[in-house]
């Protein structure tokens, strides 16, 4: 019989283990704001 796993449980299993303190790199664009955004 096929039992549907809870999403949270599935996500838990599928999540790739990341090293402690892993900080995802900032998105390449858009870049930094030098003055202010209007």
């Amino acid at each position: 019989s096929v039992a549907k796993r809870e999403v949270a449980e599935a996500a838990q299993h599928d999540k790739v283990p990341r090293p402690v303190g892993f900080v995802p790199p900032p998105p390449p664009c858009p870049g930094k704001i030098r003055y202010f955004k209007i």
Binding site: P28, C29, P30, G31, K32, I33, R34, Y35, F36, K37, I38
Partner: protein, 249 residues
């Protein structure tokens, strides 16, 4: 095996900033009206390899207007970006560049500018003056009065109006008109102009002398009128050394 495509550029990568600097210099040197613009943000960059050491770059730039008129000889790095409460103006530019053997050049550019919304400014500063239309009657009247006032008092050349750069009007707590306009010296002295102003023509390019004026006219509750003009002196026009391009305005 074909060379691997270059890694996608980040918008804050040194190579992207170098391309943005070339694009900005091109935009400011090919603009004939208004003010110089400074780089606020690189929105996006795409790189298309053509052949070895030959790339096409597409840049999307977010610029902000500075207080330097486009004819001012002030270097861009010394130009102040207009603050939010001065009713900032933003420029959005799409620029196509070529990077050939490491040398960047602009192939085409297209920009449009727009002022910040009045709501944004008033939310932060309820009494701040807002940008007015350049053909607003009060604006045109104030510019004409300011130029007449300056020409009536100067011992130098008679100045003619080149363009109204910006205008703001405040209504509370006082009614005040603020104008900024570009001027050019003519071949007449202000004294001679009183006799025959029609004879006063702008100086030829090799002798041109441009300037910039600001004026503030308090209409109520009191009356006051301040005019300040500064001539740049003759500037030797810099030959445009950038790559001949089909720039689109």
């Amino acid at each position: 095996v074909p060379a691997a495509p270059p890694a996608p550029l980040g918008c804050d990568d040194p190579e992207s900033e170098a391309a943005a600097a070339v694009a900005l210099s091109y935009i400011n040197s090919h603009s004939h009206y208004g003010y110089k613009f400074a780089l606020n943000r690189i929105e996006n960059i795409r790189m298309l390899p053509q052949k070895l050491n030959d790339y096409i770059l597409f840049l999307e730039l977010d610029l902000l207007e500075t207080t330097c008129h486009i004819l001012s000889p002030t270097p861009l790095e010394n130009c102040t970006v207009r603050s939010f409460t001065e009713h900032a103006v933003e420029g959005d530019c799409d620029v196509k560049l070529q990077k050939l053997d490491g040398k960047l050049s602009v192939l085409a550019s297209k920009c449009h500018s727009h002022a910040d919304s009045a709501e944004d400014v008033l939310q932060l500063c309820p009494d701040c003056p807002l940008l007015a239309s350049l053909n607003n009657t009060e604006v045109e009247t104030t510019v004409k009065a300011a130029l007449d006032d300056y020409n009536s008092k100067t011992a130098d050349a008679y100045l003619r109006l080149l363009e109204i750069g910006r205008a703001k009007i405040q209504y509370h707590p006082a009614h005040i008109v603020f104008v900024e306009f570009a001027v050019a010296a003519t071949n007449c002295s202000a004294e001679a102009a009183k006799e025959n102003v029609e004879a006063c023509q702008l100086l030829p390019d090799d002798q041109s002398n441009f300037g910039f004026c600001t004026a503030t006219k308090v209409i109520s509750p009191s009356q006051d009128f301040q005019v300040n003009c500064q001539l740049y002196g003759h500037q030797v026009p810099t030959p445009d050394t950038s790559f001949p391009s089909q720039d689109t305005s």
